[in-house]
């Protein structure tokens, strides 16, 4: 085990002390055992590792402060740090000019802009006209990542990514990449509307009709897959419905089919493949529907798809689940029950308006509380796009599209119907190594001139560093080494 990095081992990485090196900060753990250090920290209530940089110069890295028990020193008392915190959690990092724009608008106006700005439509993907949706999924992946890199409204992509993990679909089972492409377009357009119309959109989305088998379900012989996951994962959560409810809503939802193609083409193997020239949604076939009374969530009578959705929306558990998931994604891994209840109440009262919910999240005191500073782990997409933006390049789309897998996130290929887990689940021996390797590859492949690394400590890391990161930055020989340390640091993995 590499217990301590000796000075000699660091020299080999060209992180050697620069000639003009200032005094190394005193690292409390050096020279005493970790047990002693920890015992001291626990006894006095101070941590052993966090440093807050004051001022704007690398020369001042040596200034240290102790933190409250083991935590990062929150800079969120300052408006600029609060804005960087907001942008980190709502976009994929930021360029200096994007940060400047936010600073001149101020926090509240920036929140309004995030929530109110319409999404930018990505350029059309030519391959989507391929018969049968038979083209490589990597085309869709890279198309979306390029749009994330280039759009003027990155929040629209962040919230689309949130829904991509929530109302998720897997290209392998969908087996038609045109449908996957359409789903991405639909999720972007609906992302900040209201849950009632979104649920209808999700239910009749062609990729979803395939993914959770609603397209092949009939009233006479219903398939339970969509019915169950609509309640368990998309809206109410486990424990809030019965197995009878699953069976009954499976009947009520049956009848949806894939849209009719505009034409057909013949494949090389002489198979008829559908060709779609415009985006479509599923169509309802009354002959496949269930005729009869349905007892669902406590009421009996005729019930159609809109009826199922409305009954789901009448359950308090639905707003609670969405609020919990939004909070875990944007605020804290462990939101308090009272915080979730407050958000859920606001969401319900607004008739499930996403703008109201997200506005309420970003302006809540919890969002920028000191306790929640660096309280979330960046997803692989956020980390990679953020690193790319920090390096001032938007030409790494291909590298980014190909690098998510080892970090546990391949777009359009979720691990299961529950989408991607978040926060601590992103951290394993495999994923952390892959993140470091991405930094190496990105710095090798980027053709942009490296921005100033000393600014990066403040612009990217808020000037809040662990003593180890500070020490290594201080000893780094040049800007390349400083950039590597900055982007590979634990600080940069967090938001």
């Amino acid at each position: 085990m590499a217990t301590s990095a000796s000075a000699s081992s660091m020299k080999r990485v060209s992180l050697a002390p620069a000639e003009e090196q200032v005094a190394t900060p005193r690292v409390i753990t050096r020279g005493i055992t970790r047990r002693q250090a920890l015992a001291a920290a626990l006894a006095t209530g101070v941590g052993v590792g966090a440093i807050r940089l004051i001022g704007a110069s690398m020369q001042q890295i040596a200034t240290t402060r102790t933190a409250s028990a083991g935590g990062w020193i929150s800079p969120l008392g300052s408006e600029s740090a609060k804005l960087m915190h907001l942008l980190r959690r709502t976009s994929f990092g930021y360029t200096p000019s994007q940060l400047e724009a936010a600073l001149s608008d101020g926090y509240d106006k920036t929140v309004d802009r995030l929530v109110e700005t319409k999404p930018v439509e990505p350029p059309a993907l030519a391959a989507a006209a391929s018969p049968g949706g038979r083209f490589a999924i990597t085309e869709v992946q890279q198309w979306w990542i390029d749009h994330m890199l280039n759009t003027s409204n990155p929040f629209a992509e962040r919230i689309t990514l949130f829904w991509h993990g929530h109302f998720t679909s897997d290209y392998r089972k969908v087996a038609d990449n045109t449908f996957m492409y359409w789903q991405n377009l639909s999720w972007r357009r609906m992302a900040m509307t209201n849950l009632r119309s979104m649920l209808m959109e999700v239910t009749t989305d062609p990729a979803m009709l395939r993914y959770l088998d609603l397209a092949t379900s009939t009233g006479a012989n219903p398939n339970e897959n969509y019915s169950r996951e609509l309640m368990e994962l998309f809206t109410m959560g486990a424990g809030n419905f019965s197995e009878d409810d699953v069976r009954e809503s499976a009947k009520a939802l049956a009848g949806w089919q894939l849209p009719q193609p505009d034409s057909f083409a013949t494949s090389q193997g002489n198979r008829r493949l559908p060709v779609y020239t415009t985006q479509k949604t599923g169509v309802f076939n009354q002959r496949r529907a269930y005729r009869g009374s349905i007892t669902y969530l406590g009421k009996t009578g005729p019930l159609d798809t809109q009826g199922v959705i409305d009954r789901i929306l009448a359950q308090p558990a639905t707003a609670n689940l969405i609020a919990t998931k939004v909070a875990q994604h944007f605020v804290t891994a462990r939101p308090s029950a009272s915080y979730v209840t407050g958000l859920a109440d606001t969401f319900r009262r607004s008739k499930y308006d996403m703008k109201t919910l997200m506005h309420s999240v970003f302006t809540s005191s919890e969002f920028a509380s000191d306790a929640n500073y660096r309280g979330l782990v960046k997803s692989p997409a956020e980390f990679m796009l953020g690193a790319s933006r920090a390096l001032g390049t938007n030409s790494l789309g291909k590298l980014i599209a190909g690098s998510g897998s080892g970090m546990g996130q391949t777009l359009f290929d979720p691990p299961d119907v529950n989408g991607w887990p978040n926060n601590e689940s992103w951290i394993s021996s495999n994923t952390v190594v892959e993140r470091v390797n991405f930094v190496t590859a990105a710095m090798t492949q980027s053709k942009a001139v490296l921005p100033s690394a000393s600014d990066a400590v403040h612009v990217q890391l808020d000037g809040v560093l662990s003593s180890q990161t500070a020490t290594l930055l201080n000893q780094a020989a040049d800007d390349r080494a400083r950039w590597f340390i900055t982007l590979a640091s634990p600080e940069f993995q967090l938001k």
């Binding site: 392998r172 092949t216 959560g237 190594v433």
Partner: protein, 431 residues
Amino acid sequence: MKKEVGINQLKRRDFLKAGLVFGAGASGLAAGYAAVPDAFARAVYAAKKEGAGNDNILVMIQLAGGNDGLRTLVPLADPTLHDLRPKLAGPMVSQALPINSQYGLNHNLGGIKGLWDKGKVAIVQGVGYPNPTFSHFESIRIWETGDPTRRQVDGWLGRTLATSYDSNGHPLTGCACGATNAPGALRDLQATLTVIQNQKTFGFTGGGEVEAAVGALYKGTPGIYGALFDTAIATATETMATLRTSASTYQPMADYTDNVKLVYSSKNQLAAALQLAAELIVTGTGVKLLHVTLGGFDTHYTELNRHDDLMGYLDSAVSAFYKDLAAHNMADKVLIATWSEFGRRPKENASGGTDHGAAAPLLLIGNPVHGGLFGSEPSLTNLDSTGNLKYSVDFRSVYQEILSGHLGADAQTILGASFDRVSFLKAPVAV
């Protein structure tokens, strides 16, 4: 001699103090994971045992999505099967590989049938638990934690690592092969484990220099994720050091090539994961508990070909793995066991598939196994109120036999209770 307190234990204490629980992310939300453990109720510094009673090895294969037990071990002579599954039953019965007059293995399980004929396969029928949930995520959690009441947070293998092995400084004691994230079964706040997706690419680009820099960077990291990050990097660098040695001495002695076309993948990922497992085992890395996953078993639609392909995948990977272990004289040490969150509904649906079910058979494979059928046959006519097969063997009975009989671990401590025995081991080491 007084035992050194390892760096990982200290970090884990920080970690506990911060009140963060493994596995309580979005899937935790869905599965209703407990919020915060009582950090100080745990004896973090409790002396660890020097190791379990022997050097046996366990490989758990997760068949994720809910494996159709009726298409794995096919009831050949039950006419009800054809009533319940008009589309699916015909070919699965006619093609099955009979193991007696009543049952046959799926026709793509030819390699495993060969092992059955040699007495190296035990099949426990009707495995489940009371009041089954039909949620993937709740049921996965129940199987991972070994707790149908859903109070337990740590995984049953994670608890085994923590109570029975000194994984401190030996990150390869528990290993998830072919994965990017730790499976719930291996998680425990006090256990170290490695996650390796692919050993060929597991390492730092830039080699030792980067490794040294990153090793220095990830130490004493503050915050609730600090210990997790630091442990991940420390574990990774230790594992790389071990793999550097093992890669140079391992020669596969069996054929892992993919000769089955799978719907979900163009390559047999299970075979790749098991080959990595074989490498870790035969090169003496100290690995004890391994976990690999084959996904795609949620066969709600067109199950016929899809499930056959998955069976073929399982069969070719397990057969090659067994041959490799045998050729390296390690087969006596290794028990292979399958698990899945549930079986599937006996009655098929309109999509030519089956919905979520309950009880299903488990396969136990290897030289330590006493071959044969265990448990009792689930009845196709006496289904439960949801139309599913009733269980006859609690899954924790199987865990108990593995823990005490194969690993020599204290099953009662790990599982919190004792269960009826299922005697599928030839020579159980302790009971």
